[in-house]
């Protein structure tokens, strides 16, 4: 807990500017769907939508791409930015905390395991903060735009965004698909980014993560982890999609494996004041 207090202060509070990226991602997403709704309202009789419509627009990802000479793959910028901005925030803190005075913190922590656990708690907390800030941004936007604040998507809005298939989700499945799984996927990516930073420079790790996300948007596959947090890739939205329950457990298991893998690597790592 004492180490976590240090990590909270140095890794989150003094880096709170990075959380502005979360606000930006959420805000521009909200303006996107809002503009689209306004356009549709000129010719159709549709409502202003609900908070859930706006949230789904932020995290939905994109439909699975089928190669076609006449329809090229379009990168889902909104979704990519939302996740990438999180990865920017968590990218370099762990290693930078080891440099310079960081070795003092490690020595005073008395244990490499304590240090590793503290960094994990930081990573999880940062990701939760990031999502919370996004959530609040969407919420505030909805309040200011007189959008109903409830967790029910509206059919006419879903139709206007060509996402009416999301209405096939039951309530529980919907919440898992659009709230829990994106968060778990983001947590997994934060943790694996930390682990890979123990092997190669954080900037290269970030590039790998980015490519992994784009590949996830392009192709449906269990190995492309972005799929597991993308509502568009879930049953029943996609007939051949992933089960939300399976994704939930796979992400939890993958995160635990990364946590153990990371500790085993860190246990044997030489710490130098300058990397």
């Amino acid at each position: 807990m004492k180490m976590f207090k240090h990590d909270w202060l140095e890794g989150i509070w003094h880096r709170k500017l990075y959380l502005i990226l979360s606000v930006l991602a959420a805000f521009f997403s909200c303006t996107g769907i809002h503009s689209s709704i306004i356009e549709h309202q000129k010719t159709e009789n549709i409502s202003n939508g609900t908070f859930m419509d706006y949230w789904i627009y932020l995290v939905d990802g994109c439909q699975a791409y089928k190669f076609d000479w006449y329809n090229s793959f379009v990168i889902p910028i909104r979704w990519i930015c939302f996740i990438t901005f999180l990865l920017i925030g968590v990218n370099n803190y762990m290693l930078s905390d080891l440099k310079g005075w960081g070795y003092q913190v490690l020595v005073h922590s008395k244990s490499r395991l304590n240090w590793w656990i503290s960094k994990l708690m930081w990573s999880i907390s940062y990701t939760l903060c990031y999502f919370f800030v996004s959530f609040c941004t969407v919420l505030i936007y909805c309040i200011l735009r007189n959008v109903a604040v409830n967790f029910k998507p509206t059919l006419d809005i879903m139709k206007s965004q060509a996402t009416e298939s999301f209405m096939k989700f039951g309530n529980r499945n919907l919440y898992v698909a659009v709230l829990i799984l994106p968060l778990l996927m983001a947590l997994f990516l934060s943790i694996i980014q930390m682990v890979l930073s123990l092997y190669i420079r954080p900037v290269y790790v970030f590039i790998i993560m980015f490519i992994w996300l784009v590949a996830s948007a392009y192709k449906k596959s269990w190995l492309l982890v972005g799929n597991l947090g993308m509502p568009y890739r879930m049953k029943p939205v996609l007939k051949s999609g992933f089960s939300t329950v399976q994704c939930f457990f796979v992400l939890i298991a993958a995160s635990l494996i990364c946590i153990i893998w990371g500790y085993l690597k860190f246990r044997k790592r030489d710490i130098f004041e300058k990397e």
Binding site: H6, G100, W101, V107, E273
Partner: protein, 211 residues
């Protein structure tokens, strides 16, 4: 307090940094390590502190094998190379944050410590504005904070002015305690004669002389 180093060997990218180092350090003495740049002094200190994993060999601290029973020595203070702290905080705040991790050091003790190292007037000054000598003094304060059983000081009088050297020397001599091992690395042979009870000479990663 007893530190046993057995057949310690460290290689990094095919460069031998420590080559079969064997030595026992017991409490109540100040050990000095001497040697040219690159002889392995700092790497030996890093190894004892648990910051570096030996390629072969073992370090046993009070019967506990480092990297098997413990990953970091349970009671240790370290000053290795240039001391680095958080520039946006004062010297006092930096020590307080480290003390928070240990929970053994009170605010009053931190202030006394800053006075002992000659930083009483600069306690509230941001670390980013410290001179090299002041940074070094703060590094020493961090290393001896909480009265650790192992104290590793790498070039402690680096960048310290004439008067300050005597102050730091007396501080280090005052650390001599039967329950404490103090290891000091220093280029200055005369200073080493004044400080150390035993001098260890290193060359190319090996101990060439002890006593």
């Amino acid at each position: 307090m007893k530190i046993e180093i057995k057949d310690l060997y460290k290689e990094i990218k095919k460069n031998v940094i420590l080559d079969n180092v064997n030595i026992t350090l017991t409490g109540g003495k100040i050990y000095g390590i001497q040697g040219k740049n690159g002889c392995g002094k700092t790497m030996l200190m890093r190894s004892i502190a648990g910051l570096v994993i030996p390629t072969r060999g073992s370090i046993i601290i009070n019967g506990k094998v480092l990297h098997r029973d413990i990953s970091i020595p349970e009671s240790i203070g370290v000053l290795i190379e240039n001391p680095s702290f958080l520039p946006r905080y004062s010297g006092y705040e930096n020590l307080k944050m480290l003390a928070m991790l240990d929970d053994k050091v009170s605010d009053g003790e931190i202030k006394d410590l800053l006075e002992k190292v000659g930083l009483k007037d600069a306690a509230d000054k941001k670390f980013g504005k410290y001179s090299l000598g002041m940074k070094q003094r703060l590094g020493i304060a961090a290393a001896i904070m909480g009265s650790p059983e192992i104290v590793l000081l790498d070039e402690p009088i680096n960048a310290i002015d004439g008067e300050g050297v005597e102050q730091i020397r007396q501080l280090i001599l005052g650390l001599r305690d039967e329950n404490r091992v103090v290891l000091v690395a220093c280029h200055d042979k005369e200073e080493m004669q004044l400080l150390a009870d035993d001098i260890i000479c290193m060359q190319q990663g090996r101990i060439v002389e002890k006593g």
